[in-house]
């Protein structure tokens, strides 16, 4: 099986609607998700959720660990429950084959070596502002549609996923600076995006201005 074949196989697992909804729920959650919570979120029985969650684990899309959900330890605390979270790897497939990741890496390297951070940030900000969804009422939905997976952390809106993860790991200053500028362009003016990395997620956090 080629790498492309295995990607098709992985994505095929997500062809099932229930499985896809479960995957989306777990992947967007800031922490681990238990079977009961996942079943409830998707509106299916616990045993059906367990079946599909384990299919997602088999495919490598989720990882599983065991935790006592009661918070108690020691004898009588009960058996640890299975909890699920999004797996680290990423799968992309293009039909017909295209390699935008290779192009992205090459371009990023040239832009970084040329010291064009500010030019990139200006372009990103303009692209964010020019997007049809810019200044939309429901920023959270706009961010979700772009893959950021927003969640509230108190008064702060954090982003559970970095849509530019692979490039951001290799070119953090360049790509995270670009991402911040993009979100500055995209977010309506009552929002303030700032650089405030959250573990495993996006470098940008957003808060609502007090005067709105």
């Amino acid at each position: 099986m080629t790498a492309e074949d295995s990607t098709f196989a992985v994505l095929g697992v997500l062809g099932d609607d229930v499985r896809r909804r479960l995957y989306r729920h777990v992947a967007a959650a800031p922490g681990e998700v238990g079977r009961d919570a996942a079943a409830e979120a998707v509106g299916i029985s616990r045993s059906l959720a367990a079946f599909h969650l384990d299919k997602l684990v088999e495919a490598g899309l989720l990882t599983v660990s065991f935790r006592r959900l009661s918070g108690r330890t020691g004898p009588g605390a009960g058996r640890p429950a299975k909890v699920y979270r999004r797996a680290e790897g990423e799968h992309a497939v293009s039909v017909p084959p295209r390699s935008y990741d290779a192009v992205g890496r090459l371009l990023a390297e040239v832009v970084e070596n040329a010291g064009l951070d500010r030019e990139l940030q200006a372009a990103a900000k303009a692209a964010g502002a020019a997007h049809p969804d810019a200044a939309a009422d429901d920023l959270i939905e706009v961010l979700r549609a772009r893959g950021y997976q927003p969640f509230w952390d108190g008064e702060t809106l954090r982003l559970h996923n970095c849509p530019f993860r692979a490039l951001a790991e290799d070119f953090p200053a360049l790509v995270c600076g670009m991402n911040l500028a993009l979100l500055e362009g995209l977010a309506p003016e009552q929002w303030s995006p700032t650089m405030d990395p959250c573990p495993g997620g996006c470098c940008v956090a957003l808060s609502k201005n007090k005067n709105h």
């Binding site: 010291g115 064009l116 500010r118 995270c176 700032t194 650089m195 405030d196 990395p197 470098c203």
Partner: protein, 156 residues
Amino acid sequence: MTGFHLAQVNIGRIIAPLDGPELADFVAQLPEINELAERSPGFVWRMVDDEGEDATSFRPDENDDMLLINCSVWESVEALRNFTYHTGHLRVLSRRREWFHRVTEAHQALWWIPTGHRPSIAEAMERVARVREHGPGPLAFTFRDPYPAPAGAAQA
């Protein structure tokens, strides 16, 4: 506990004098960023000048009064990487081109030192020169090509 810590140096040419308006935002953020480094897991030491707050009065190249040096010691590459790229330090890093010229040659180096050692400016500059001349190696490397700490204390 390996008996080794990771030393780090980076140098940068500022685009204007430190006390001018161009660098004001950078200078204003230094205390906060330095404090953030000191609070970060795995921080061991950072180089400070006679003022005792940061290293901005050091000029590692006497022929270049715009060249600044930043040097610190960490428990591991991971600890340094976390501070550099996964904290508020990233905010300053993403604005680097507002304050620093682009350098075409290598401008940073990482290397392993015996625990307790404090690198000097000359030592740090020698490691940068080593990356420039030979590329990354066990004696001076980069985040892109990290090398593990020496296995035995004798190799220090």
